[in-house]
């Protein structure tokens, strides 16, 4: 396909091959091992119940990042574009669902009844759909006209769309942190001395269900197969009778559905959002997608989980002021030592 993409791929596979690749892998493993040993001493010092508590938070956090990372990786997989606006679609989901909750009768401090559960489900569905329509509009208006332009053009456009959305969110709810209604019961149960809350279970449960559903969809459904085919060879997909424009739009649609669910869960879990949430969370999720091997959906799910967990563990056991430094150090290390990511392409292109 594109010459830049091919050059990058060739450079990557070049790096992966031979002794140099093995040394790089070894160095990466050494760094990870050093980190784990450091973490291990802290874990032992702080005791088991704290560890279980942090682990619960970590998995919930990882689930949310995985959902966002999937949107980055799916779009990259199919049109080799980093959709920088994707993080902002996620933030839009957090903003929109926060505003929808009161409309559906879900208020902070109110009792959580089965009716509330149905209302919450409706908020989820509406938010996911709204994000999906936002994202396919972005694709239609900003990216599709640039389908045959040099690669840098849609990339810069994506940055522009991201700024545009952040501006819109800024105008909508202002510059400061916005409180997100805390509607879920604060109940929970004890496990090894740690408290596992309803929130934790909801976030972990929903993100796992969505990831599993996505996996099934991409492997089994007709549209999922069309998406994989288009990602692997666009012209060949056309020659099989696949409507490329529709397939690409569907990819944006599905990625944004996951981001919408992630945004809603982020709000429900952390009870706060802010207009530039998409930038910060987006960068972390993008790092996760690269970490897992950009373009690979299993890689994004695992990468999101791992990065989210590293974040939470760092917050819990080390200094949270350094968490972002840590995340981007990982991004740099991955790019140096394993540019194809954890599950990068292992099969030759042709």
């Amino acid at each position: 396909m594109g010459t830049i993409g091919e050059a990058v791929r060739r450079r990557r596979s070049g790096l992966r091959a031979g002794v140099a690749g093995r040394i790089l892998d070894f160095a990466l493993i050494a760094i990870i091992a050093a980190f784990l040993i450091l973490l291990g001493t802290k874990v032992v010092a702080q005791g088991g119940s704290f560890f279980v508590q942090i682990l619960t938070f970590a998995v919930a956090n990882g689930g949310i990042y995985a959902l966002i990372a999937l949107g980055y990786t799916m779009v990259y997989g199919i049109i080799e574009l980093i959709n920088f606006a994707h993080g902002d679609v996620f933030a839009f989901g957090a903003f929109l669902s926060g505003s929808l909750l009161p409309i559906f009768g879900l208020r902070e401090g109110g009792a959580f009844t089965p009716v509330s559960a149905v209302a919450l489900l409706a908020v989820f569905a509406l938010t996911m759909l709204a994000c999906a329509f936002l994202n396919i509009s972005i694709e239609r208006i900003a990216y599709r006209p640039l389908r045959h332009a040099p690669r840098l053009a849609p990339l810069i456009t994506a940055v522009g769309v991201s700024f545009f959305l952040e501006g819109a969110l800024f105008l909508w709810k202002g510059p400061s942190n916005v409180h997100y209604p805390n509607i879920l019961p604060n109940a929970g149960f004890e496990l090894f001395g740690a408290t596992i809350g309803v929130k934790d279970l909801l976030v972990i449960g929903i993100s796992l269900i969505l990831m599993f559903a996505l996996g099934l969809f991409v492997q089994r459904s007709r549209l999922g197969k069309a998406m994989r085919a288009t990602a692997q060879d666009r012209d060949a997909a056309l020659l099989m009778g696949i409507d490329i424009d529709r397939t690409i739009a569907a990819t944006f649609f599905i990625g944004a559905i996951l981001a919408g669910a992630g945004g809603t869960m982020y709000g429900l879990y952390y009870n706060t959002s802010v207009f530039d949430l998409g930038f910060s969370a987006g960068l972390v999720a993008f790092t996760a997608a690269v970490f897992g091997g950009i373009g690979n959906i299993y890689g994004a799910a695992i990468g999101g989980m791992v990065i989210g967990m590293i974040r939470t563990f760092w917050d819990g056991y080390f200094d949270s002021a350094w968490t972002d430094v840590m995340i981007f150090t990982i991004l740099i290390l991955v790019l140096i030592f394993r540019p194809t990511g954890l599950l990068g392409m292992r099969v030759p292109e042709k």
Binding site: R222, K225, A226, R228, A229, Q232, D233, D235, A236, L238, L239, M240, G241, I242, D243, I244, M345, V347, P348, E349, K350
Partner: protein
């Protein structure tokens, strides 16, 4: 009226004209070869028929329908399928999944088992590798898979772009034999080849393309014995 009738199409890459008033036709049951040197416009012709490119002038009529401005994914549904230059398989799908992608545009999905069995009968090698990723196949196997994938679409016209390119002589024989076999069962084939002598041997009719224009046409035998063709393409 022929099955495929192309009249006077002009095709451009940007400002460069790749095809000049190309006219050709394929009748039911025929193998038609399109020969010519590198850059003559053979692949462009197939890409234009498939709708990956659109002509600025002229007509493409297939099965009574004008196709020159139809989108590529719609053209497949009318019954034209090609095995493209460079095979263009889906490298990270299995052999079986690649074959199934061939059926994507089919409305009638009955008899899939038979179709798969037919492809495996034509190319027993593919059957052994049914669960293998297409990207890990050898060149010859990839070519077989590309042809098989196109056949899975149940086309009314099969187009093959350089099926013998880069293959060992014994595999070249296999591919051309399969072409004749498929054709004997009634499948019309439009064959683009650099291996002119082989293509002309099996073709009922052939066209010679030079720098975007058809310069000669005739039956396969006529062109094989034509001094111009012999000098330019057969190395005699």
């Amino acid at each position: 009226m022929a099955l495929l009738e192309i009249s006077k199409i002009d095709v451009f890459y940007g400002r460069v004209q790749a095809l000049r008033a190309v006219t050709l036709s394929v009748d039911a049951g025929e193998i038609v070869a399109l020969i010519g040197s590198n850059g003559a416009g053979k692949t462009t012709t197939l890409r234009t028929i498939s709708g990956l490119m659109h002509p600025t002038g002229g007509k493409i009529v297939f099965d009574g329908r004008e196709l020159q401005q139809t989108k590529a994914h719609e053209i497949v549904k009318t019954g034209i399928c090609q095995s493209p230059e460079g095979r263009r398989l889906f490298p990270r799908m299995t052999v079986f999944d690649n074959l199934m992608m061939g059926t994507y545009a089919r409305k009638e999905l009955s008899g899939l088992q038979d179709d798969i069995a037919n492809v495996y009968e034509l190319f027993p090698r593919l059957k052994e590798r049914t669960k293998q990723l297409a990207g890990t196949l050898s060149g010859g196997e990839q070519q077989m898979l590309a042809i098989g994938r196109a056949l899975m679409a149940h086309p009314k016209l099969l187009m093959l772009d350089e099926p013998s390119l880069g293959l060992a002589p014994i595999l070249v024989e296999t591919i051309f034999r399969v072409c004749t076999d498929i054709n004997a069962k009634g499948m019309p084939i439009l064959l683009v080849e650099q291996n002119a002598s082989k293509a002309l041997e099996i073709a009922h009719r052939a066209y010679v393309l030079e720098t975007g224009s058809i310069v000669q046409t005739g039956t396969g035998k006529e062109l094989l014995s034509s001094p111009d063709v012999q000098r330019a393409y057969l190395g005699m």
